[in-house]
C-alpha cells in the first residue's frame, strides 16, 4: 500500500520560508519552532503508524506545523501546543486516508479504528520504530544521518546542511530520496524481529556515533555549529537509551559520548591547537557529563551480556575519567580493554592504541615491540600517529637518532599545522646529527639532473620521496643501507604489480650509481613481468559486486560506468556534470590525448540522475570532504556548489580494491583497470 501524495521535496520549504518571514510575532515563531523540535518525532512516529509511510507522515506533520504558523501568531499559542499539533496532524492523516480510499469500506474502518486508538498510546515504541526505519541499512550512511536529524531531531534541511557543510538543496534531495527508497523498498514500520535486532541496532548506533564524531572531530568549518551536532547525537543517544533500556551497547554508546563530550573544553588550547588527553587540564572536564557517563556505564553493566565495542570504548573512557591526574591513569586496565577491543574490532589503529597503553603500563620496550609488528602493515603506511608513537618510544629508550627520523616522518605525514610544528620540535631535541650529506639532500640533487626527461624524473621522484619519508630525509646518506631499502620496498610496494616494483627498483639502482654508493637495491630481486595483464573480473564476482548492499551511490555509479563504457578510470573521473548527455547515454571529455567519447547502458543510466541530484556543473564524482587549504585543487576540479573537490584516481582505486577484496579469490582486490575490461 502506498499512500504517497507528493514526492516534491520543495513542499517542506514552506515551513522554512514561513519561519523567515519578518513578523511582529517573531517570538511566537521561535516558540513554535521550539515546540516543533520537542514534538516532531512523536508526531511523525504516530502518523507513520497510521499511514505506514514515513515520507507521507512527515508531510502531514509539516502540514500541521504550517497550520500552527498560520494560526498561532493571530490566536495565540494554545494551552497545550504539543497536543494541538498532534490532533491537527492526526485529523489530516484521517482525512487523507478517507479521501484516498473513499470507495473501499475496509479503509473507512481502519480510519475509524485509528480514531478510537489514541495517538499517545504506544508512542514510545513508535518513536523507536521510526529510529530503526530512518537508520535502515537500505539507505546510504549520509542519508541515514540526515533523515534521522530531520525526523527524530526536527531539524530543518538548512540546519542539517550547515552542520554537514553541504548545500541545503543537497540535503533536501538526500532526504527526499531516502524517503522514496524507504517507500520503494517497502521497509516495514516494525521493530526488527529478534535475530535481526542486534544488527539493525548496530546500524542505529553507527548513525548516532557518526553524527557525534562529525561534530566532535571537526577541526574546520563553522565552529559554533559543529558542537551542536554533538548535542544532537547526545540527545538521540539519551532518547534511544530510554526507549531500548535493555541493550547494553546503547548505554555504552551514551557513556562514550557523554565522557568524550565532557572533555570538549579541554581539548583545544588558547590558540586552537589540539591538546592531547594526557596533557589536558582535567579541571576543565565537565564533571556533570562525566557523572552522566558513569551512570550510563552502570546501566550498560546492568543490561549484562558480553561487552560489545561501544561498551569497551566507554570503559576505556571511564578509566581515563576516573584518573584525577594523567599520572594516576590505570594503563594496565586500559591496555587490557584495548586487548579485548582488538579481538572484536581487529584494526591496526586499535592495536596501535593498545601499544600506547602497554608502553605506559610496562615501559617503552613493551610498546615498541607491538608497534614494530605494525610498521609493515600497508594500511598504516601513511598514518602519522604510527611514526609519532614509535618516535616517542624510541626517544624514551634513548635511541634519539631513530626517534628523530620517526618524528620527521610523522611531521611530513600530518596535515595539521600545529601538530607538525610540535613533531618537528620533538625531532629537534636529542643529540645532534653527524655532519655529511643527507638522503634528502642527495635525492634533491639527483632529481635536479638535467640529463633526464620529465617523465623519468617524475617516476624517480616517487621512489625517492617514499625512501625519504620512510627512512627520514635527514638521515645521513652513509647510513642508508640495502637492508633498510628492502624494508621500505616490502612495506610500500610488496603488493604492487611487478612492473611497478621493477620501476622503483630501477630508480634505486640509478640513484646508487649516481651517488657512487653501494647498490641499495642489492636486496631487491627483479620480479618477472608477465606479458599478460591481470585477467578481467569474472561474471560471478561482478554479480556479487553489483549486489553489495553497502556500496555508496557514487561508487555504484562509477563502477557501473566503467564496466559499461570500458573507459579508462581517469577518463571517467574527469567527467563533469555538464559533459553528460543523459538522454542519449553518452558523455564527452577532453583528455591530454584529445577528446574521448563515453557511452553507457541502462545500469549507469539508472544511477546517474541520483548522483547528479540537481547539480548542473562541476566534477561528476566528488570527494567526500572539502579539500584542505594546502591541497586546494584548481577551479576546474572543484564543485562550485559544495566546494568539494574531484574524486581522485588514487582514492577511487583504493576504495574499489577495498570493496573487492572479499570477492577476489587471490584476496588482493581488483583494480579499476580490470573493471573497465570486464564487459562480457
Amino acid at each position: 500500500m502506498t499512500l504517497r501524495r507528493s514526492t516534491d521535496p520543495g513542499s517542506h520549504e514552506s515551513r522554512d520560508r514561513a519561519l523567515m518571514t519578518p513578523m511582529i510575532a517573531q517570538n511566537v515563531h521561535g516558540a513554535i519552532d521550539a515546540v516543533w523540535k520537542f514534538e516532531s518525532a512523536r508526531i511523525i512516529a504516530g502518523l507513520t503508524r497510521m499511514v505506514r509511510d514515513v515520507g507521507l507522515a512527515e508531510e502531514l506533520a509539516q502540514d500541521a506545523l504550517v497550520a500552527a504558523l498560520e494560526q498561532w501568531p493571530g490566536q495565540g499559542v494554545p494551552d497545550n501546543p504539543g497536543a494541538w499539533l498532534m490532533t491537527t496532524a492526526k485529523r489530516r492523516a484521517i482525512d487523507h486516508i478517507r479521501r484516498g480510499e473513499r470507495l473501499e469500506r475496509k479503509h473507512e474502518e481502519i480510519a475509524h479504528a485509528l480514531e478510537q486508538r489514541s495517538l499517545e498510546e504506544g508512542v514510545d515504541d513508535d518513536v523507536l520504530r521510526l529510529m530503526f526505519v530512518s537508520c535502515h541499512p537500505v539507505l546510504p550512511a549520509e542519508a541515514r544521518a540526515a533523515l534521522t536529524l530531520r525526523l527524530l531531531g526536527g531539524l530543518t534541511a538548512l540546519e542539517i546542511a550547515r552542520a554537514f557543510l553541504v548545500s541545503e538543496r543537497a540535503v533536501a534531495q538526500r532526504i527526499a530520496k531516502a524517503k522514496r527508497t524507504l517507500a520503494e523498498e517497502r521497509v516495514p514500520f516494525e521493530l526488527p524481529p529478534g535475530p535481526e535486532l542486534a544488527g539493525r541496532l548496530a546500524s542505529v548506533l553507527e548513525v548516532i556515533y557518526l553524527i557525534f564524531n562529525e561534530g566532535y572531530s571537526a577541526t574546520s568549518g563553522d565552529d559554533l555549529m559543529r558542537p551542536s551536532l554533538c548535542l544532537e547525537a547526545l540527545r538521540l543517544g539519551r532518547l534511544l537509551a530510554e526507549l531500548a533500556p535493555r541493550q547494553a551497547e546503547v548505554h555504552g554508546l551514551v557513556a562514550l559520548m557523554e565522557i568524550q563530550a565532557s572533555r570538549s573544553a579541554a581539548r583545544t588550547g588558547p590558540s586552537g591547537e589540539p591538546v592531547q588527553l594526557h596533557e589536558q587540564n582535567r579541571g576543565r572536564w565537565d564533571q556533570l557529563l562525566i557523572r552522566r557517563g558513569f551512570a550510563a556505564m552502570l546501566r550498560a553493566r546492568e543490561a549484562g551480556g558480553p561487552p560489545g565495542p561501544y561498551v569497551l570504548q566507554a570503559a576505556i573512557a571511564v578509566s581515563h575519567a576516573q584518573a584525577k591526574t594523567a599520572q594516576e591513569t590505570d594503563w594496565e586496565q586500559i591496555a587490557a580493554l584495548y586487548g579485548a577491543l582488538v579481538r572484536l574490532v581487529p584494526s591496526p589503529v586499535v592495536q596501535l592504541n593498545r601499544a600506547v597503553a602497554l608502553g605506559m603500563a610496562r615501559g617503552p620496550q613493551a610498546g615498541l615491540d607491538i608497534v614494530d609488528t605494525l610498521t609493515s602493515d600497508p594500511a598504516l603506511k601513511n598514518y602519522h600517529l604510527l611514526s609519532g608513537v614509535r618516535g616517542d618510544f624510541l626517544a624514551k629508550l634513548g635511541r634519539h637518532d631513530e626517534a628523530r627520523t620517526e618524528f620527521e616522518r610523522a611531521a611530513s605525514l600530518t596535515h595539521n599545522a600545529p601538530e607538525r610544528a610540535f613533531l618537528l620540535k620533538r625531532a629537534a631535541t636529542g643529540t645532534s646529527r653527524v655532519a655529511g650529506v643527507t638522503l634528502g639532500q642527495a635525492a634533491e640533487r639527483f632529481l635536479a639532473r638535467e640529463d633526464l626527461d620529465a617523465e623519468t624524473i617524475r617516476s624517480y621522484g616517487q621512489t625517492l620521496r617514499r625512501m625519504c619519508l620512510d627512512l627520514g630525509a635527514g638521515t645521513p646518506l652513509a647510513e642508508v643501507t640495502a637492508g633498510k631499502t628492502s624494508t621500505v620496498f616490502a612495506v610500500a610496494w610488496n603488493g604492487a604489480a611487478a612492473k611497478t616494483w621493477n620501476r622503483h627498483r630501477a630508480a634505486v639502482r640509478s640513484f646508487s650509481a649516481w651517488a657512487s654508493i653501494d647498490d641499495l637495491s642489492a636486496g631487491l630481486a627483479r620480479k618477472p613481468e608477465s606479458r599478460e595483464r591481470r585477467p578481467s573480473i569474472g561474471p560471478p564476482q561482478l554479480d556479487a559486486l553489483w549486489e553489495c548492499p553497502n556500496t555508496a551511490p557514487r561508487e555504484k555509479t562509477l563502477w557501473r560506468l566503467l564496466h559499461e563504457s570500458a573507459a579508462a578510470a581517469r577518463t571517467a573521473l574527469s567527467l563533469n556534470v555538464e559533459d553528460l548527455d543523459l538522454e542519449n547515454r553518452r558523455g564527452r571529455v577532453t583528455t591530454k590525448n584529445g577528446p574521448v567519447r563515453l557511452s553507457w547502458r541502462s545500469g549507469t543510466a539508472r544511477l546517474l540522475p541520483h548522483l547528479v541530484e540537481g547539480r548542473t556543473r562541476g566534477p561528476l564524482f566528488l570527494a567526500d570532504r572539502r579539500p584542505a587549504p594546502a591541497r586546494m585543487p584548481g577551479p576546474a576540479d572543484l564543485c562550485p556548489d559544495t566546494g568539494r573537490g574531484r574524486l581522485s584516481y588514487e582514492r577511487a582505486e583504493y576504495l574499489f580494491k577495498q570493496a573487492t577484496r572479499p570477492l577476489d579469490p587471490s584476496g588482493a582486490g581488483y583494480t579499476l583497470h580490470q573493471l573497465s575490461h570486464s564487459r562480457r
Binding site: N27, G30, A31, D33, A34, V35, K37, F38, D79, S228, L231, L234, R235, L236, G237, R238, L239, E242, A265, L288, R292
Partner: protein
Amino acid sequence: MRFLMTSASEQAADETLYIEMGKFIEELTRSGVLLATGGMELEGSLIRSSGGEITVIDGPFTEAKEAAGGFALIETRSKEEALEVSRRFFKILGDGEGRIQQIFG
C-alpha cells in the same frame, strides 16, 4: 546551550503535583534535555563581599508568599526551547515565578 532555571511556587506541593511533576521530569530526561534537577531552599543566605570583608545575611528577606523552590539544569538548542520547557514547568506548578539564566563554559 545550557540554562539554569530556578523557580518558586506559591502553592505547597500536593500529591497530584508530585505525580505530574514526576512525569514531566521523566519526559525531559528521556528527551535528553534535563541534566540535573532538584528542590531548593527558598531564601537561603546572602553573601556579600565588600572591601575584602565577607558578610553573610541569613534569610528570609521578603515576606514570602512562596511555598516551594526548585532548580533545573537543562541543555537545549536555543533560548526559545528553554522558555518552552519553563512554560510547561509552570503549567504544572501553578502560580509562582522563576528565572532562566544561560550558563557558559
